[in-house]
Symmetry: C2
Subunit: 204 residues, 2 copies
Amino acid sequence: MLRTAVASLEAAGHAVQVTDLYHLRFEPVSDRRNFTTVHDAVFYKQQLEELHATEHHGFALDLERELQKLAWCDVMIWQFPLWWFTVPAVLKGWVDRVFAMGRAYGAGKVYENGPFQGKRALLSLTTGGGAADYQPGGLQGDLAGVLRPLHRGILQFTGFTVLAPQVVYGPVRLSQAEREALLDAWAARLLTLAEEAPFDVGAY
Amino acid sequence: MLRTAVASLEAAGHAVQVTDLYHLRFEPVSDRRNFTTVHDAVFYKQQLEELHATEHHGFALDLERELQKLAWCDVMIWQFPLWWFTVPAVLKGWVDRVFAMGRAYGAGKVYENGPFQGKRALLSLTTGGGAADYQPGGLQGDLAGVLRPLHRGILQFTGFTVLAPQVVYGPVRLSQAEREALLDAWAARLLTLAEEAPFDVGAY
């Protein structure tokens, strides 16, 4: 899915930047390593350190790189396996550390006023179970409900326009021909992301 | 909240084990470090490695310790700040690594048949925003919906009976007297967890 996305987008003339969190051995745990600056050396409150770092260019290099990719992109795609109804810890940690107060939200800049307004975001995921498990009343329940905290609480919260998730259900049980058909459909969809209508993330 | 829970439970004669993930510098990223055994040295599929480790006592010590705590406890309580509509990455990584196929679920042992049936679990959390933000129609939406993937997809999935979450909204804006009253209520609630009715985690 990742390689297909990069190839499809680049073949159409788009520029792509990839963050491979495992390859980078990205650190998911938030602490003072997030910063090169110190606001309060005694009492560590992360949001206050983030605001201070925003004012004083004090984010650690691994975070600053990601913040600049976020500023640069028109579309952000997360490719991940659904683990325990959400993203793997390393991707959650990328959010915890990179989506810093002052840069990704804050001072009333949330939801419609979020810093990433005008950008689009899309969750591309694989599941263990089949599609029937993720319907309303299915074993796991409606996938839209499973994904809503990600869609609403992270993506929309920071201003992204959310597109429909790209879901491959149970790839381990698909034939090679089925997998290739899904990759082709993914490659084709990627070329029209700019024209897609936003996804209704649901309400509660 | 953590210290109050330990003190209240121990004063009533209960035994308590604490896993402080930051203090332990718990590793949240799943990979071959999860295991002392190897099922397939070429193609890494985590669930197959987990099943192999289950049969051959092959979990790394940091995971085996946690698995034994899970087997030992009657009630599991997570104390965490709500970050991005879910747990911080280090706690998600504790689930990703410890809740292994073969030990925490698998082969039809999910939900009502999960390995942790008979045990109770409770999310104890603090939020940034106030209670009004977490009502249906509020800025963040109904907290029960926010927490449902944790309640349903992790706790019920592995067999736990879920109790109502213990929520402290916006502690940073509470007075010392208000905080102390909330700690007292928490200390009191802990002594009757065995008699509480299960929490309705909602459906979708």
